[in-house]
Every structure is written in C-alpha cells, then in structure tokens.
C-alpha cells in the first residue's frame, strides 16, 4: 500500500466510489442480460 499522505481519504474514496459504480453497472447489466436470456430461452422452448 503506497503512502497516500494527507489525502488518503480523498484518494481512497474516489477509488472506492468508482469501483462501486463500475461494479454496479457491470453487475446490473450482467444480471439483466442473464435474466432476459433465460426468459427468452424459456419462450423459445
């Protein structure tokens, strides 16, 4: 872990929130993709 000095909270929170946002968009897209795919497979029989 590098020494972030006085700005540790800022840098870490920037990274943390960005990760949350990235994971959220990827996760939501992925989950929805899977759900829709399954639904379609059921429909197609």
């Amino acid at each position: 872990m590098p020494d972030l000095g006085t700005y540790a909270t800022e840098v870490l929170s920037a990274y943390a929130v960005s990760f949350v946002l990235l994971v959220a968009i990827v996760g939501l897209s992925w989950r929805r993709a899977r759900r829709v795919k399954r639904e379609l497979e059921q429909r197609d029989g």
Binding site: G5, A8, V11, Y15, L22, R32
Partner: protein, 242 residues
Amino acid sequence: MSLWEYANPRKFMAWTAPVLPWAFGLAAVSLTVGLVWGFFFTPDDFRQGSTVKIIYLHVPAALMAINAWFMMLVASVIWLVRRHHVSALAARAAAPVGITMTLMALFTGAVWGSPMWGTWWAWDPRLTSFLILFLFYLGYVALWEAIEDPDTAADLTSVLCIVGSIFAVLSRYAVNFWNQGLHQGASLSLDAEENVADVFWFPLLVCIAGFVALFVALVLLRTRTEIRLRRIRALDARSARA
C-alpha cells in the same frame, strides 16, 4: 454483403457472441494493469501529492462520458436515416453506461477538488458542462422509459439526442462565457510540452484503453439484452395473435 448487414439483429447476435468475452477480458486486463500501475507504482506529484492518483479514474471516465453521448448521437442519426433497429437499441443501451461514467467523473472530480480548490463543487465551466451533460442523459433515459412503443421511443429519443447535442455544444460556449474557471486545460494534447509527465501518462493511457474496452463490452452486452427483450416482445405479440 454490405457493412449494414451487421446491423441486422440476428447477425449482430451472431458476431457479438464471440467478441463479447474478448472485450470483457481486454477491459479487465487493461483496467487492472492500468489502475494497479497507477495506484501502486507511480510517484506523488510535487504539488498535488497523492491526489494525482485520481487522474486514472477521472480522465478516462470524463472522456468516456462525452464519447458515449457522441456514440449515441451517431447511432441516433443512423436510426433516423437507415432505420436499423440495432443502432437505436445500441443508443438506448449506451445511455446508462454514459450516466455511470458521468457520475464517476463528477464524483472523482469533486473529491479531487476538495483538496485542490478547497471546495467540493465549484461552478467551473468544465464541471458545469458535465452537470448539464448529466441532465441530458437523464432526460434521454426518462424519455425512453416513458414511451411504450419501441419504435416511437426510438424516433423521439433520436430527435432529442440530436437537438440535445446542438444545445450541449451551445451550453459549453455559454458556460465559458459566463465563468472563467479553475479546471485544468487539455493535457492530453499531442503537444509534448503541455502533457503531464510520462510517469503519469503511460498508466493513464492504459486506463483509458481499459475504459474504452469496458464501454464497448458493456454496450455490446446491453444491446444484446435489448435485442432479446424485443424478441420476447415480438414472440409475445405473435403468440397472442396465433
């Protein structure tokens, strides 16, 4: 076979299926490399201290936020001119990704601003234009959500996207006129003198590549979902009539 045939939903599903894992893989690798490199193996800036590390998130996110809108604009025009369903759906699929990027740029910028400018938010032109861009995204998504019929929605959101783009550019100039601002100028120009030091520059490039790959991967994935939803809708409509 013309290029446009790739915009046929079936074809699109077919050729994106193998591409998708590669896109995600590329995104994961370059993001990991870029961010780890940037976070752990670059020095602090002599003026900005460790906050310079935020650049690896902030700049790519800001770039992608603008480029996503631009992509939506192109897709909207294609839909209006050639009426390829995939392009309309791709525009729809890109919008939430663009919103995420915008939010990320806004947040990382705000966090960066608090030590640098002593405030979380300042009505700087660049920041302000981003906020306006965010509003355009919200309006665009809200309009999509509000309309039942997919083709009507595609038409209307496309018109909105084109008109909105013109006004976004106009706002940018207006905002500059209104307030001169604190934000740095472009530092990614090819003119070497204006660039940030190389130590920051290379990992930043890798991160930008990672964000681009991630954007492409997400748009492909989401477009596929939209296509499937339309297919379900179509099958439902058909079986209701059978």
